[in-house]
Symmetry: C2
Subunit: 202 residues, 2 copies
């Protein structure tokens, strides 16, 4: 029996479709993409598409979730307790460097999904992953005092800030190295945006 996960034809077809999705979204955005477009670009029969996905929304979601899953897993991997109690001063977190490296590898997909033609829901999914990760880390830290603002707002602030910088980095063609970016992020988060901007505390 042709196992549905090993049959080469299936893997091939799915890869064609997903590649087509990325390309077409760059051109017209998700809304503008039709199943016809996808199958033409992927050079497969239109009916074949429906053998694997319910519709284009289904395709989008499955593609997104795959990335989310990968991010989750490699966050877990790169997150032993060492990092937590490590020096958070002005050293970039290795975990963040790894994140940038992963994004760099999947730049084309990430850029279009996070960009103006992408899906806002994808932002939320990623921020959710970041948030959970941060809360866990915060929990494990020992040298801390009570937060000065509601944690929920703080989480929104930091996750959005980080994702926003990532997005901007992608849009500008990833001119900085993952290490530089991680350092920049760490500076802003630990020293604070105003301080980093050069605004003197009075």
């Amino acid at each position: 029996m042709g196992n549905s996960k090993t049959d080469r034809r299936i893997i091939r077809t799915k890869r064609f479709i997903r590649d087509a999705l990325t390309e077409l979204m760059e051109e017209k955005g998700f809304e503008g993409v039709t199943v016809r477009d996808l199958t033409q670009k992927a050079d497969i029969n239109r009916g074949t598409f429906y053998l694997h996905y319910q519709d284009k929304y289904d395709l989008l979601e499955k593609s997104e979730n795959e990335v989310i899953q990968e991010i989750k897993e490699f966050i877990k991997k790169a997150n032993p307790n060492e990092i937590v109690s490590a020096n958070l001063k002005e050293q970039p977190l290795p975990f963040i460097i790894a994140l940038f490296e992963y994004i760099q590898e999947n730049a084309r997909f990430m850029q279009v999904m996070l960009g103006p033609k992408g899906n806002p829901g994808f932002h939320l999914k990623i921020k959710e992953v970041m948030k959970i990760n941060m809360l866990e880390k915060l929990e494990l830290m020992d040298n801390k005092t009570p937060p000065l603002v509601p944690l929920e707002h703080l989480m929104s602030y930091v996750t959005s800030a980080h994702l926003g910088v990532i997005q901007h980095w992608l849009e500008q063609g990833m001119k900085q190295s993952p290490r530089e970016m991680a350092l920049t992020l760490a500076s802003m988060t630990f020293l604070g945006p105003a301080y980093v901007a050069g605004i003197k505390r009075t």
Copy 2:
């Protein structure tokens, strides 16, 4: 001659269409909304829609730009030099309070446009407005040292952070007052997320 800006029928029709857009986007997201839906909900003839908008994308863009324009104007108004040299310590900026108030008044539209069913391009537009405003302010400040990271990244960081918090606030039903929110934002930006989180600087 019925001036196209004063004819009641036009104003009425446009209002119906835009209200329908907000409602329908809450239900199905922009992608799911058809011109048919809009005109049915607005209770007008389908042909009438095309008298005012080229297509649904045109409608979206015009609706967005109207909000952007309003934000721009009232930012300008609330931005005399007083604010700049005012104490930026732990006082909420009056300008930010006003922004939250405006958003509160247009909550339904803002929430759906910024939410997971909204348009990512709208985020960019708003962040662009914020960025220009911030750069102007920064320019006018006197007590400052050179920035420690590229200004572009700093701007992405802060604008994304602020917008992210606004989004979260909307999604949670605006439980805090505009003043509280402005204070929270000011704390995080001027003291820094890590400090505010209670992480002691070593």
